[in-house]
């Protein structure tokens, strides 16, 4: 047995000794450095670029401007390509841009012999602009269309989508139920950044007429396709290599600097060129999480039955489409999936270009945003009804066997209610709610919670396909190659465990090749959508079963016995019925390779086209202490309970939850990208952007409800992204419980709490003015 055991990470020793190599560690000595020149306006057009001073810098090699690059527009999001034009990603970007669509847009690039020379020269490049007013929110961009950001979208609207659930409209339901209470609210989430510790970076060089790109990416095979599109080159001439990466969280599920690096090597005769972003550039010139605003209405009966909801969601895209409307479309789906409106749900979603950093995929893909809205709404409704918020949720939340009416995705392994009950008990919920019911004074405590639902992978919205390859070594160990990527989450470790489990060997006999190289790695779309243990796990299981069959067929030949009577257990060929050891696998493997009678190189490759999906779910509970005069929230206790099917490696699963909860705490209390009125970023660094430190992070409690999922290759389902979803609303609801103040936008920063507490009379206005 290997699946279900908490083995140590297969890459841990390499990572504590410095042996693990990341992109920048692999760059050749003679690499040239490229430094981007960024626009110093948020909206407008480049009229001219003057590189005269830059050329004088010692070590200067070349200046490439937006006027020099190909006019080919390409898409950047890391989706599997759709062969149907209607479903293809928006191609709205060139390698460098004449039309400035955000503060810091890439308008030119300097290549030099050292990173210092490149940075010096880039600073000396001068540009003249025609300037327009910045468009800082989705609603603002939709209202001001004098200078559309992209001519293909004259209204700045990338897309609008609409869905309904139920036979009638919200207004009909309202007319039929005059006794219902109605809640009208606007909930808002902010722009945040992934802040993986390794900034985005790639270097590229040529081998003959082929371009090799080494990159910190979650999606090497997709990056290869995008580079081909950007450079109008056949994909066979591009090779992408993905070594260890220092975190991604969705940012690196996008073509960030890869197409540019690939292009730049072609303009310097194939010499290696490195594009290494600074931390500041990583904030503004990669991707961010979409700020989404929800205008909502909800109708409830006085007994707490949810009757109908109606909402419009406005998603701020930033300057380029990237993942675009997919995010808010996924976001709004959570409204129908998490709760049951007895009569009607009407939902509209809009994605608008804005002159802000481009938003893309980030852990949870729109769900942390909508979960903030649904979970604030549940508590606000419960408060209006004088009902316990858990009782309200149990009365209205998704039930076992749920099937999405539009996508058909089914909740095959339902653990949500058990998660809620488990957390409620562990948190002494009822006692705490009673204890905190009537508080006075400056320091008050409260408990709050939030639930969520999350699908596993992207089927049926997009293609789900994965590949795995296993080769038997002469010593009976196995080489494992996956197209799926290790990005810190522990994929390589759980894939090794799956291989050991299915082949019948111990994990120490599995050697995983961590690097993906599109020249030899099996195809897989990569790390996103919490899909790999599920979808890539299916491909791996297929490969492992095939390898095992081939080994047993050869063993049958050697032992002169039917293969059906044989099995592999603990690195031995055994008799299936009683486990009697017949031959060491190592011995058989050696024979297979070198036999003078019949040598066979035993290997197995398997690709899996996945047409399944299932839901994960869970609940987060938070207990806070609010210092009202100081406008400060301290988390006393936080508990995450997850329904993620069978766990492959409980210890790593728990660690994954820790990281997600921490990201959720940052989202809830601290993190927000700020801009001045001109659209210039104000806190694009790790000092002013408040990423949680160890001092801001409480001890995190983790529980699991393990319901085996019948569709998961090992009973497993999504876990990677979900932990980041519910902490922010759980904290917001705990603050509501403590103070009676409902904060409807994120984050709950001291400034915002101060304004709310003054309005609520908790802080006297005179006090506030001091």
């Amino acid at each position: 047995m290997s699946v279900g055991e908490s083995i140590t990470r297969v890459d841990a020793v390499q990572k504590v000794t410095g042996q693990a190599k990341y992109t920048a560690d692999l760059a050749p000595k003679n690499v040239l450095y490229a430094k981007l020149v960024h626009a110093t306006i948020a909206n407008g057009r480049v009229l001219s670029i003057d590189g005269g001073e830059a050329e004088k810098v010692n070590g200067f090699v070349k200046l490439v401007t937006c006027f020099d690059v190909p006019k080919t527009q390409f898409p950047t999001p890391g989706h599997p390509w759709s062969v149907e034009k209607a479903h293809q990603d928006v191609s709205d970007r060139t390698l460098l841009s004449e039309r400035v669509r955000l503060y810091g847009d890439n308008i030119a690039v300097v290549i030099a012999q050292s990173s210092l020379a490149a940075a010096k020269a880039a600073r000396l490049v001068k540009a003249e602009y025609e300037e327009y007013a910045p468009l800082m929110s989705a609603k603002e961009a939709l209202a001001h269309t004098e200078h559309p950001l992209h001519e293909e979208k004259p209204d700045n609207l990338i897309a609008h989508s609409h869905f309904t659930v139920g036979e009638e409209s919200y207004e009909q339901a309202k007319a039929e139920e005059p006794d219902c209470l109605e809640l009208v609210k606007n909930y808002q989430t902010q722009t945040v950044q992934h802040c993986h510790l390794e900034p985005a970076q790639s270097y590229a060089y040529m081998e003959g007429d082929r371009i090799v790109v080494v990159s910190s990416t979650q999606i090497p095979h997709i990056i290869r396709r995008i580079i081909g599109q950007a450079l109008s080159l056949p994909l066979g001439r591009i090779r992408v290599v993905k070594p260890y990466i220092g975190g991604g969280f969705g940012n690196k599920q996008d073509a960030l600097v890869e197409p540019l690096a690939a292009y730049l090597t072609t303009v310097v005769g194939g010499k290696p060129v490195m594009v290494e972003l600074s931390r500041e550039e990583n904030f503004t010139a990669t991707r961010v999480r979409h700020a989404i605003e929800f205008d909502t209405r909800a109708l409830v009966r006085r007994d707490g039955t949810l009757i109908a909801r109606k909402l419009s969601a406005y998603s701020a895209q930033g300057g380029y489409a990237s993942h675009g409307h997919s995010i808010v479309a996924n976001s709004t789906a959570a409204f129908k999936q998490l709760y049951r409106d007895r009569k009607a749900l009407e939902c509209d979603a809009y994605t608008a270009y804005t002159t802000m950093p481009t938003a893309g995929a980030m852990r949870g893909y729109g769900i942390p945003q909508s979960d903030f809205a649904t979970e604030c709404m549940s508590d606000d409704l419960a408060l209006m009804l004088h009902m316990d918020p858990i009782d309200f949720r149990l009365k209205n939340c998704v039930q076992a066997g749920y099937k999405d009416p539009h996508t058909g995705i089914t909740f095959y392994s339902y653990g949500l209610e058990e998660c809620i009950q488990k957390g409620k008990k562990a948190f002494h919920w009822e006692e705490k709610r009673k204890e905190y019911a009537h508080q006075t004074g400056d320091i008050r405590r409260g408990v709050g919670m939030a639930i969520f639902i999350y699908k596993t992978g992207v089927y049926p919205i997009s293609l789900e396909t994965a590949g795995a390859r296993l080769t038997l070594n002469q010593d009976g160990s196995v080489m494992l190659q996956m197209g799926a990527t290790e990005i810190g989450q522990g994929a390589d470790t759980v894939f090794s465990q799956m291989t050991a489990e299915t082949v019948g060997i111990t994990e120490d006999r599995v050697h995983i090749v961590s690097t993906q190289d599109t020249d030899y790695s099996p195809f897989d779309t990569g790390a996103y959508a919490s899909r790999q243990t599920y979808v890539s796990g299916m491909a791996l299981k297929g490969a492992a079963e095939l390898l095992k069959k081939r080994i047993l067929d050869y063993a049958a030949e050697v032992l002169n016995r039917p293969a059906e009577e044989l099995d592999i257990r603990q690195n031995n060929i055994v008799q299936a019925k009683d486990g009697d050891v017949l031959l060491a696998l190592a011995k058989l493997a050696e024979e297979a390779q070198y036999s003078l009678k019949h040598s066979v190189h035993i290997s197995a490759e398997y690709s899996h086209h996945c047409t399944d999906n299932t839901f994960s779910s869970g609940a987060c509970f938070a207990e806070v202490e609010v210092d009202i005069p100081m406008c400060r929230v301290k988390i006393l206790r936080i508990l995450a309970v997850h329904d993620s099917g069978t766990l492959i490696n409980p210890k790593l699963a728990e660690a994954q939850v820790h990281g997600g909860v921490s990201m959720g705490i940052g989202y809830g209390l601290y993190e927000e990208m700020l801009f001045n009125e001109k659209g210039k970023p104000l806190n694009d660094n790790l000092l002013d952007y408040k990423l949680p430190t160890a001092m801001d992070s409480p001890d995190m409690e983790v529980e699991f409800v393990q319901v085996e999922d019948p569709t998961g290759p090992y009973g497993n389902k999504a876990l990677g992204e979900p932990p980041a979803i519910p902490p922010a609303p759980a904290i917001r609801n705990a603050v509501l419980n403590a103070t009676g103040v409902a904060v409807d936008s994120l984050p709950l920063s001291p400034q915002k709490l101060f304004e709310h507490f003054v309005r609520a009379g908790l802080i006297k206005e005179e006090q506030g003015n001091v």
């Binding site: 990572k15 504590v16 000794t17 510790l197 900034p199 975190g247 820790h658 990281g659 160890a694």
Partner: protein
């Protein structure tokens, strides 16, 4: 201007030519190929480039290489014993699942070496403060604290 820097790195005396304005981060990474020293922000905010200079943790991105003249520099490449056996702190990080993407790991391990080197005992909250100069986006610091707390208790208990 190029100058010759003499220092001890991971127990070995080295003489290496450096630019006057060069950060120790660049010297270690580019000239001595000690790539465990990571570049995360280059302005002393994230702690990924932490190394020990004479036993004290410094951000090597904002520490001039020439300041290390005559000093002892330690990176994680220098932590294993001559047989390659992991240092107890490295071992604790492996066993406590304190490692995920691994990019902040070498820096935090070196801070842990400094903490253990103090010979003092610390509460968990004191340890939070001690490692608060390191940013980590993967772990929420939970297992990192478990590893550091365990090793401080074992070695300084």
């Amino acid at each position: 201007m190029i100058k010759l820097l003499n220092m001890t790195v991971n127990g070995r005396a080295v003489s290496v030519p450096v630019e006057e304005g060069e950060a120790l981060l660049e010297t270690l990474r580019n000239r001595l190929e000690l790539t465990s020293v990571k570049r995360g922000c280059e302005v002393g905010e994230c702690g990924a480039c932490t190394v020990l200079v004479d036993g004290r943790a410094v951000d090597s991105c904002i520490y001039l290489a020439l300041w290390a003249e005559g000093k002892n520099v330690l990176t994680v490449e220098g932590l294993q014993d001559e047989n390659g056996v992991l240092n107890p702190i490295q071992k604790a990080f492996v066993e406590e699942a304190a490692v995920q993407c691994g990019f902040c790991t070498p820096g935090i391990i070196l801070s842990a070496v400094e903490i253990v080197g103090s010979g003092k005992k610390y509460t968990r909250d004191e340890l939070r403060k001690q490692i608060s100069g390191h940013l980590c986006r993967c772990t929420g610091y939970e297992n990192i604290l478990n590893a550091v707390e365990r090793i401080v208790n074992e070695l300084n208990g």
